[in-house]
Each structure stands twice: as C-alpha cells, then as structure tokens.
C-alpha cells in the first residue's frame, strides 16, 4: 500500500457503529457529529507508527492503551496494543471523512 494511503489512515477514528454492515466496520473522524451512544471505541493512528487505542472501559468511559499500527502492502491494517490480541482488518475504503474496515 502506498505511503499516501498510509498517510490517509493517520488520525483519530471513532467507531460509527450505526453504519456497520454484517461484514464491515465504519469509522469516522473524531470531529464527526456522532449521535448519542452508550460507548464508542476509537483509535488514534499517528505518523510515527504509534497507536492509542481508546477502548470502552468497564464504567463506560474510554480507556486508552498505547500500542503500534501498520498497514501491509496488501492493505491490511494491523493494530497492536498492550494486553490485547493483535488485530488485522482489511482497509476497504479510506478518505478524509470515512474509514471502512473488514470485520
């Protein structure tokens, strides 16, 4: 995957679960006007390869865990963070306002 696509993945992506399909997860930038929800996972993908995974915590607050991210030449986003199993999701679509990952 080209550096430009890697660059387009950088940012703070918040799960727009209302837009999910049975096979895809949809994320929007943190600035998106989200409707109310009991909780949303989000992750920050930084240019230096660092990731901050803001998971839904036991008390409904987001709880950050620091980790790393990478996108493979085949277009698979790999997320690693402390204490969690690594996850790999294919990037189906990425643009300024929307990121779509395979489930």
């Amino acid at each position: 995957m080209s550096d430009s696509i890697k660059a387009s993945l950088e940012g703070h992506w918040v799960h727009a679960h209302e837009e999910d399909t049975p096979t895809q997860q949809v994320f929007r930038p943190a600035t998106h006007p989200f409707p109310p929800s009991r909780g949303r996972r989000s992750f920050e993908l930084r240019a230096d390869g660092m990731m901050v995974d803001h998971r839904i915590g036991p008390d409904d607050r987001r709880q950050p865990a620091v980790g790393s991210w990478n996108v493979t030449p085949e277009g698979v986003l790999e997320l690693r963070s402390a204490g969690a199993a690594p996850s790999s999701m294919r990037v189906e679509q990425v643009g300024p306002d929307k990121l779509v990952l395979s489930k």
Binding site: H17, E18, F34, P35, P36, S37, R38, G39, R40, R41, D53, R55, I56, G57, P58, D59, D60, R61, R62, Q63, P64, A65, S81, A82, G83, A84, A85, S87
Partner: protein, 300 residues
Amino acid sequence: MCGAMQAHNRLLERYPDFRRVLGDLEHGTLERLAQPSPFRAAAIVRIPVVVHVVWRTAAERISQAQVESQIAALNRDYSAANTDKANTPECWAGLVTDVSIQFFLATQDPSGNPAIGITYTQTSTPSFGTDDTVKSQATGGADPWPTDRYLNLWVCTLGGGLLGYAQFPGGPAETDGVVILSSAFCTTGTATAPFNLGRTAVHEVGHWLNLHHIWGDTADCSGSDFVEDTPNARHPNFGTPTFPHVSCSNGPNGDMFTNYMDYVDDAATVMFTAGQVVRMHAALAGPRASLVTAQPVVTA
C-alpha cells in the same frame, strides 16, 4: 488481560482501597452463591437518591416531574415490572429476575432538612467530559451529597455523544455515583428516542452495583462479566439486534443483548439475570450497605 481491564486496574492501583473493596466483594459474591437460595432476594432494599441537575440552557434544567419519571423507570426495571420483558427470547425468559431494589428521591438533605432530592446548579460549561468535573462545584458541576448515604446521580450535557458513565463500588468517595446525559434521562421531557425509556440510568446504576458489561470488556472473547448465566459475548451490541446474534461460540442463542448491561437501544434492553442480582445484592451487603435504608420488606 485486555487493555480496558488493564486501564481499570491502573485506576485500582491509584486507589488501593478500591482494589481491596472489589476483592472483598468478589469473595462476598462467591459466598452468597454458595448459600442455599442465592438467587432470591430476602428483602426489598430501598436506596435514597439525590439527582444533581447541572444546567446551562433552559432545556437542560429538567423538571421535578421528569426526574420523578426516571425514578419510576428505575423502580420498574429493578423490580422486573417492565411489561416489555415479554420481549425476552424464550430461551432466557426463565432468567429474568426481580432485583428487589426500590429507589426514592431523598426527603432529607445531608443536614436533615426537608428536601426534594434534587439539586439545581447553573453552569457555564457547555459540555462535560468523563473526567468527573461535573461532580465538583469547583469545576463547574455540583458537589455530591455524602456518597455513603445517597446514590448521587448527575444529569448534564456530556461531550462526544456519550450517554453516561459510572463508578464501581469502592472507588473514591468524592466521585462516587453515576452521570447521565440530559437527553437520555427519564422518560418524558428532554428524553429523546431511542434512549427515552430511562435505561441509561438502569445500566449505569448496574455498574454502581458492581455489574460488568456482558461482553466482559474485551474484544477477543477472553473477558468475563463474572456472571454464569449471561453468555460470553465478543463485542457490545448496538441498536435493536435481531435474535440470535452468535459470537464467542455462544450459539444457538448467542449474545444476551436483551440484558441491561449490553449497549442496545432502550427499547431492546429488558432484563437482569439471577446471577446479576446476586452480584448486586452482594454489593448491597458489602460496600453499599451504608446506603440501604428503612426497614426491609419481606417479599412474597
């Protein structure tokens, strides 16, 4: 161990008493489960509530009637008197359990003066975060009433679209209680669909009584809510799912998304289980014991 639980544990490390209380509470829950009839509450427990309405706009200054509708919703669901429990899939219908808790707006303030159990605080803060600033007058919110005597419930505008957050038993006293988004509070007035049946408070008070999310706060099926009769789930469910939604090898019935401790819309969440009731009553016999008021009424 997942990151969320690690973060939770960091909070526990910051407050050593929090860890000790929760550890003792797990022990108390196990002891309760070992009793002959662990799933039957011996008495109805009454808990005094103070609602702190922290408002900036006129719409946020919700009425006493609206607050009372929230208390009624809590009492409906914590007594399994909700008629929509009929929507529970048949496979779980036998697990729907009356928690035997009743909530009431406090009739006395901390000094013993007559009160309505509601405080109103005008703020200049347009939107609060999840950093507990709404829980202190010094940071634009309202100070709690003594948290060992009242369930403190703050109502405000929360940022990021969050409906609410809670604090488990044994945490810092000065922030103990739950916070609810104004538009998800109560069943009338500013309450807005699909969160207009008062079930955000039902969910948050569940945490306050030591209940965990049914997916165990992990994304890989390794977590647990420490309750045997709620199937393990991989993720939170949202919206109004169609039965069954199978994950974590929990077929054929799948995730118990009808449980108050999942993340679905108010209309889709209708039940606590017997195992959850044991946990809540263990909390009421332990770190929440000081809030239990009045003489218990023996159930039929």
